[in-house]
């Protein structure tokens, strides 16, 4: 069963002459153990869709369910809790708190007490895979863009969420790192049975995706390339 399910979502910003419909009747499902790629040009509504999927924005119409439970209409606290435990966000502008060292970024999660989080051994191996083990005592300001992005990925994975939503997670990475991160997301889907949704215009990630969707002017294309079916 789909862990994340989006049904007939429309998103309209503004009113009157400023009215823009960014998303048109979008339905989409993410299954555990699969990696879905949503591709589209800049301004096509990728980030907006991800924001709605993560429960940060209530869509103008339509519904979002997490593990079969309607999610978009829940109270804010409830959504916070679900987001903390079940959704790992990797943001386009890989924000990290500037005043926490890499180690403290994870310690903060411990302080908020999510239901679960990775053991220290699992975290160590994750940091190893991402090649950031020796950056643990540095502040984000002392890291390169790509290093920050990898820390942000590790940070999102740390509470062991069921769904991983990533917005352009490879924007600041070179080819080799893209392959590594792609493999990592792939591994998470397959080995840890996560539903991974990545929005990107980076075609290099298509190699690791199970499903590839096209988002064009707010319409999710019907002619999805489903590798598992082809």
């Amino acid at each position: 069963m789909a862990v994340l399910s989006i049904k007939h979502v429309n998103q309209v910003f503004g009113t009157g002459t400023a009215r823009v419909q960014v998303l048109h009747d979008i339905s989409f499902e993410a299954e555990p153990g699969t990696l879905s790629l949503i591709m589209g040009p800049s301004g096509s509504g990728k980030s907006t869709l991800l924001t709605i999927a993560g429960g940060l924005l209530t869509p103008t119409s339509g519904s979002v369910s997490l593990a079969g439970e309607p999610y978009s209409e829940r109270a804010r606290q409830e959504r916070d809790r679900l987001r903390l435990n079940e959704i790992g966000f990797v943001l386009q502008a890989y924000h990290l708190l500037p005043y926490l060292t890499v180690a403290d970024q994870f310690k903060l999660v411990d302080h908020i007490k999510p239901k679960t989080h990775l053991t220290s051994a699992e975290l160590a191996s994750l940091l190893g895979t991402l090649g950031i083990s020796d950056l643990i005592n540095k502040y984000p300001g002392e890291l390169s863009g790509g290093q920050q992005q990898r820390v942000a990925i590790a940070r999102a994975l740390y509470p062991d969420p069921a769904v991983i939503l990533a917005d352009e997670p490879t924007a600041a990475l070179d080819g080799e790192r893209v392959a590594t991160v792609g493999r990592l997301f792939r591994q998470l889907a397959v080995e840890r049975n996560k539903a991974v949704v990545i929005v990107t215009h980076d075609t290099r990630l298509m190699a690791v995706a199970d499903n590839v969707y096209q988002l064009q002017d707010g319409v999710l294309s019907a002619n999805q390339i489903s590798k598992s079916e082809s």
């Binding site: 980030s47 907006t48 991800l50 924001t51 993560g54 940060l56 924005l57 606290q77 916070d80 809790r81 679900l82 987001r83 903390l84 435990n85 959704i87 966000f89 943001l91 386009q92 502008a93 924000h95 990290l96 708190l97 500037p98 005043y99 926490l100 403290d104 310690k107 903060l108 999660v109 302080h111 908020i112 999510p114 502040y139 940070r155 999102a156 917005d167």
Partner: protein
């Protein structure tokens, strides 16, 4: 707390500036409070040291002991709880010293006022021409055995002892015998004393032309006393109000700068409670830091101040002032909470 501590650690300069600002405000208020209390004490120290509850004065004196004159009959019957005092302003003159204004208080050696005098050196007055002087005279260069003249009289009075904290209306006290006072008031016939003071809160003097007041009424009516204390209280009050606004504005700006960070935390599912807790505990930590520095500065200043500057520190008063400042910082920290609660996580997504 975790977030607050980490942020203070990383943003040392910014936190340091705010701590410094709070420290300076706290220091200013502490010193002003010390001065206010010091001045108030110089008005009342001697009276406080007697430990009386009620005082009877002639009713035409307008609650001013220096203007009060009572006959032996008006003094009436005295129990062991009562004492008579004669009080008058004098100008003390001595060779080699500038003239100084003082208050002469005549007491009877066997009554509680005379017994309440705590000598720091020398001995008590044994006759009409011996006086015990406040230490201000010592600081002005007088020594035991020095002789002074009072007003235009020809008699010489010998300083036979010194006592601490004997001040009235900001002037030092010379304690003599009741007869010393009689000697200075010899032109007024039939006058026996200025006042009767009693340790008994129920003491009333019912003689005609006499009124009895509580100690607090008497102190509040001291010339200039209420005006002075009120001036200081208002100053401190306004300072508190202004510091509230300044601290609140600083903390508000500090928080506004951090809103994007808070938005990220919201995306990650960090509950608002934690964000609000971080804001408030940060305000409190900075305020406590500032107040500690202010306390150290105040203690250093108090130690360095010359004895002539009237400054007094009272732990309960300073404690409540410090607590007031802490409360102000807390309020200042609460102002931006609304923005923290309203922070829009969507604002950091996209790009």
């Amino acid at each position: 707390m975790f977030l607050a501590l980490r942020e203070i650690k990383k943003e040392k300069v910014r936190s340091g500036l705010i701590v410094a600002m709070i420290a300076l405000i706290g220091y200013l208020i502490f010193i002003l409070t010390g001065l206010a209390l010091g001045l108030a004490q110089q008005n009342t120290d001697a009276y406080n040291s007697w430990g009386f509850q009620n005082v009877s004065l002639s009713d035409s004196a307008n609650v001013d002991m220096r203007q009060s004159f009572m006959t032996k009959q008006q003094v009436g019957h005295l129990s062991k709880q009562e004492a008579v005092v004669g009080q008058t302003s004098v100008v003390a003159k001595a060779k080699g010293h500038a003239n100084s204004v003082a208050v002469l208080v005549g007491t009877k050696a066997n009554q509680f006022v005379a017994k309440s005098i705590q000598l720091t050196s020398g001995h008590r007055s044994k006759n009409q021409y011996q006086v015990v002087a406040d230490e201000a005279f010592k600081q002005a260069g007088y020594e035991l055995g020095d002789q002074i003249k009072l007003n235009d009289g020809q008699h010489r009075y010998t300083i036979v002892g010194f006592t601490k904290n004997a001040k009235m209306n900001v002037a030092p006290v010379l304690y003599g015998q009741l007869s010393t006072w009689h000697g200075l008031k010899s032109s007024m016939r039939g006058i026996y004393a200025s006042a009767v003071v009693s340790k008994n809160a129920n003491y009333r003097n019912h003689q005609s032309g006499v009124k009895t007041y509580s100690k607090q009424t008497f102190i509040n009516k001291l010339p200039g006393y209420t005006a002075q204390t009120m001036t200081f209280e208002l100053m401190i009050g306004f300072l508190m109000l202004i510091s509230l606004i300044v601290i609140a504005v600083f903390l508000y700006i500090l928080t506004l700068q951090k809103l994007p960070n808070y938005a990220v935390l919201r995306v990650q599912g960090v509950p608002s409670r934690i964000l609000v807790g971080a804001t408030i505990s940060q305000s409190l930590l900075l305020a406590v830091g500032g107040l500690l520095i202010a306390t150290v500065l105040t203690i250093a200043t108090a130690l360095a101040m010359p004895a002539a500057v009237p400054m007094a520190f009272d732990l309960p008063i300073l404690g409540s002032v410090g607590f007031g400042l802490l409360l102000m910082s807390l309020l200042g920290g609460l102002v931006p909470v609304r923005s923290v609660l309203k922070v829009d996580p969507v604002s950091v997504i996209g790009g």
